[in-house]
C-alpha cells in the first residue's frame, strides 16, 4: 500500500514530497524534492497516523529522490523520531543524508530538561484569572510592605543612621521639580480651560456665568490640580524611577550595593521618595494657580468676565480646608507615585524588556492607586466637612 501526501505545487524547483510505504520489513518514509522553509511543506499528520495504526515496528527512510533540504526536513524527522520513541518503534536513519543525521545527533546530544520545560506551561483561562487576582492582591501586599521598608529607612534617616548621597536627592528634586514645570503648566492650564468651558455652557443658560470662577477654583484646588499633577508625575517621574532602578537591577548595580552592606532602599529609594514628597505640594499649588488662570482666560475671552472679577470670585469660593486638603492629597499622591515607581524598579527582572515592563507597571500601579486614594479622600473629606 502506498499513500502519497502531495504538497501544493510550487513554481520554482521540485516541490517537497512526503510519502509512506508499507513493506514487509516495516514502514518506509519516502522523501523527495526540494525541502525548504520557504516552500509549501507537506503535512506530517498522515505519517503520524500511519505510525499509530501500523502493526509494523520498524521505520526506515528513503531519501534518494531528495534534491535539497534544510531545517524544515530536520524538524519533520525530529517529530517522527519523537513519535517513534513514544510508540516504541525502532527507527533506522541510514537512509537519511549524512548532514541531516549529524544535526539530529547534535539536537539529541543534550537531554531534555524536563524541570525547566515544566516552568513555562500555559495555565488555563480560569487559572489565569485566579492567578491575576492573586497577583493583584499580592501587589497590594508588596506595595504596603515596600512602603513599610521605606518608612523604616526614613526613621533611620531621621535618626541619622541612614545615609544617601545629597547629590542623588538634588538630582531627583531637579528632575521631578523644575523639569516638570513645562508639562505641568500646559496640562493644568488646559484642564482649567476645559473646566471653564464645560461650566460656561451650562451656567450661561441661567445667567450665572460668574460662577464658572467658583467651579474652576474649587475644582482645581480641591481635586483636579492634585490629581492631574499626580498623573503627570506617574507617567513622567514614576516611570523614570522604575526604569532607572530596573536598569540598575539588570546591570547588577543594586546587587553590588547589597553585597557591600549598603541598603538600596536607603541609598536609592529614599532620596527619590523624599524628592517627590517635597516637590508634589509645590507643583500642586503651582498647577492650581495655572489652572485658575486657564479658567480666567476663558472667562475673559468668552464670558466677558474680567481677570480681576474672576480671581475675586474664585478666591471667595475657596476655603482654607479645601486648599490644605488639595495639598495633602498631592503629597500623598506623590508618595504613591514614588513608591510605585521604585517598587516596580526594584522588582524588575534581569532583561532589557523587563525594564520596559517595570516602567509600564509603575505607571499603571501609580495611576490605579492614585484613583483609589482619591476615592478614599472623598469619603474622609465628606466626613470631616472639608
Amino acid at each position: 500500500m502506498r499513500e502519497a501526501v502531495q504538497s501544493k505545487t510550487d513554481t520554482v524547483g521540485e516541490s517537497p514530497k512526503l510519502a509512506v510505504e508499507r513493506t514487509p520489513s516495516g514502514l518506509v518514509i519516502q522523501l523527495g524534492g526540494e525541502w525548504r522553509l520557504t516552500r509549501d511543506l507537506p503535512q506530517i499528520a498522515p505519517v503520524i497516523r500511519e505510525l499509530q495504526t501500523t502493526p509494523l515496528r520498524k521505520v526506515t527512510y528513503d531519501s534518494r529522490a531528495l534534491t535539497g533540504w534544510d531545517s524544515s526536513l530536520l524538524a519533520l524527522v525530529d517529530k517522527i523520531s519523537e513519535r517513534c520513541k513514544q510508540l516504541k518503534i525502532e527507527e533506522n536513519r541510514d537512509g537519511l543524508p549524512d548532514g541531516l543525521r549529524a544535526l539530529l545527533r547534535l539536537s539529541e546530544a543534550v537531554p531534555d530538561n524536563e524541570g525547566a520545560r515544566g516552568r513555562v506551561s500555559a495555565p488555563n483561562f480560569v487559572a489565569e484569572i485566579g492567578g491575576d487576582f492573586l497577583g493583584f492582591m499580592g501587589g497590594i501586599g508588596d506595595f504596603l510592605a515596600f512602603f513599610g521598608e521605606i518608612s523604616i529607612a526614613l526613621g533611620r534617616f531621621l535618626r541619622g543612621k541612614a545615609r544617601f548621597r545629597g547629590v542623588d536627592m538634588a538630582t531627583a528634586i531637579q528632575d521631578c521639580g523644575v523639569r516638570a514645570f513645562g508639562i505641568v503648566s500646559l496640562i493644568s492650564f488646559l484642564v482649567g480651560v476645559i473646566l471653564a468651558f464645560m461650566g460656561a455652557v451650562q451656567l450661561e443658560q441661567f445667567g450665572a456665568a460668574i460662577y464658572v470662577a467658583d467651579l474652576v477654583g474649587v475644582g482645581m484646588v480641591r481635586d483636579m490640580g492634585a490629581m492631574m499633577t499626580a498623573i503627570i508625575m506617574a507617567g513622567r517621574t514614576g516611570a523614570a524611577f522604575a526604569a532607572q532602578l530596573g536598569t540598575m537591577k539588570v546591570t547588577q548595580e543594586i546587587d553590588a550595593l547589597t553585597t557591600m552592606g549598603i541598603s538600596p532602599i536607603e541609598f536609592l529609594v529614599l532620596p527619590r521618595v523624599i524628592a517627590l514628597f517635597l516637590m508634589m505640594p509645590l507643583l500642586c499649588i503651582y498647577a492650581d494657580f495655572v489652572g485658575v488662570l486657564g479658567g480666567a482666560a476663558v472667562g475673559a475671552g468668552m464670558l466677558n468676565i474680567t481677570m480681576k472679577a474672576f480671581l475675586n470670585e474664585a478666591m471667595h469660593a475657596l476655603t482654607l480646608g479645601g486648599v490644605i486638603g488639595g495639598v495633602v492629597k498631592a503629597t500623598v499622591y506623590g508618595v504613591i507615585v514614588a513608591v510605585a515607581g521604585c517598587l516596580r524598579g526594584m522588582q524588575c527582572g534581569n532583561s532589557s524588556s523587563a525594564v520596559g515592563e517595570a516602567a509600564t507597571a509603575a505607571v499603571v500601579t501609580g495611576i490605579v492607586y492614585i484613583v483609589v486614594a482619591c476615592g478614599i479622600f472623598a469619603v474622609i473629606f465628606h466626613i470631616l466637612y472639608i
Binding site: 542623588d168 546587587d255 553590588a256 557591600m260 552592606g261
Partner: protein
C-alpha cells in the same frame, strides 16, 4: 538551590579554607552564578545553610548580615559599577559609608586602589567612558576598597581577551597573597581553573549536584566521573603547560546535608 519548583542544584556540601582560591566550575547554565548568589546572600537557599567561620550566614538577621557582607568583595560579571558615579566615587562610596576617613583620604585611597588594577589617572572617568575590560578592573578596585576577607569573582574572564584574562588571573593571585583574602571564583575558563585554583567544586547539570570536589589538577588525574574528566581534559589539552601553582589544600566535606560552608 531552586527557582520555584525547579531545582537548580541539590546536596551541595563543601568547605572553602581560609586563604585559598576556590573555583566553582561547570558548563554554562549549570548554576555556578546562582550558587555564588546564594553564598553572598542575594538568593536564599530552598534548603541548607551557608556558614562563614562559626556564623550561620543564612540564619543571620539582616543587620548581622549587613555587618558580615562588609567583609566581602564581589566582582560581578559586568563590573556592575554605579553608572552615575565616577570611578573614584565608585571606590570611595564604601569607604565613605563604613570608615571615618576624610574626603581627601578617601580620594587618595580610591587612587591607590585604581593604581593597583592599572587604572591610575582614570579617577574622574564615568563607567560609560571606559572599555569593558577597564570596567571590570575598576569593579575589582571597588571590590577591594575595604580590604575584604573574602573576595568573590563571577566569571572574571568573561568578555576579556586571553592576555587581559591572564593578567586578571595574576592579579587575583597577587591580591590573595597580599590581602590574605579567601577567594571564590566562578568560571568555566579552564586556563584560569588550572592557573589559580587551589580547590574546586564541579557542578554537574545532568545530576543537579556536585560532580567532583578537590584540586583541579588532581581531579584531572584521578577523578573517575567521566563528565568532570572530559570537562577538565579539554582544557588541559589546550593548555599543556597549565598546572596549579599552589599546593593542594583538600576540602573538608561537612556532615550537614545541603550546606555550603566557607571558613573564610
Amino acid at each position: 538551590m531552586a527557582y520555584g519548583d525547579f531545582v537548580v542544584m541539590r546536596d551541595l556540601n563543601f568547605t572553602v579554607n581560609r586563604g585559598e582560591i576556590f573555583v566553582i566550575m561547570g558548563p554554562s547554565g549549570c548554576g555556578k552564578s546562582t550558587l555564588l548568589r546564594h553564598l553572598i546572600g542575594l538568593n536564599e537557599p530552598a534548603r541548607g545553610e551557608v556558614w562563614y567561620g562559626d556564623v550561620n550566614f543564612t540564619q543571620a538577621d539582616p543587620i548581622a548580615r549587613r555587618r558580615m557582607v562588609r567583609h566581602f568583595g564581589v566582582l560581578y560579571q559586568s563590573g556592575a559599577l554605579w553608572s552615575s558615579m565616577t570611578l573614584a566615587e565608585n571606590i570611595g562610596l564604601p569607604l565613605e559609608e563604613f570608615t571615618d576617613l576624610t574626603r581627601d583620604q578617601i580620594n587618595e585611597m580610591a587612587s591607590l586602589k585604581l593604581s593597583l588594577v592599572g587604572l591610575k589617572g582614570f579617577e574622574n572617568y564615568y563607567p560609560s567612558q571606559i572599555s569593558g575590560g577597564m570596567q571590570k578592573r575598576a569593579g575589582l578596585a571597588r571590590a577591594i576598597a575595604l580590604d575584604p576577607h573574602v573576595l568573590f569573582f563571577d566569571e572574571p574572564s568573561a568578555g576579556l581577551d586571553p592576555i587581559s584574562s591572564r593578567l586578571l588571573d595574576d592579579l587575583i593571585l597577587e591580591l590573595r597573597d597580599s590581602l590574605g583574602a579567601t577567594v571564590v571564583v566562578v568560571t568555566h575558563e579552564l586556563a584560569s581553573i588550572f592557573t589559580i585554583g587551589d580547590n574546586s567544586v564541579f557542578l554537574d547539570p545532568g545530576t543537579h549536584t556536585m560532580g567532583a570536589l578537590g584540586n583541579p589538577k588532581d581531579l584531572l588525574d584521578h577523578c573517575d566521573n567521566p563528565i568532570v574528566h572530559r570537562f577538565l581534559s579539554r582544557g588541559d589539552s589546550q593548555n599543556p603547560d597549565a598546572a596549579p601553582d599552589k599546593g593542594n589544600q583538600a576540602a573538608a566535606a561537612k556532615a550537614a546535608p545541603s550546606s555550603v560552608r566557607s571558613n573564610g
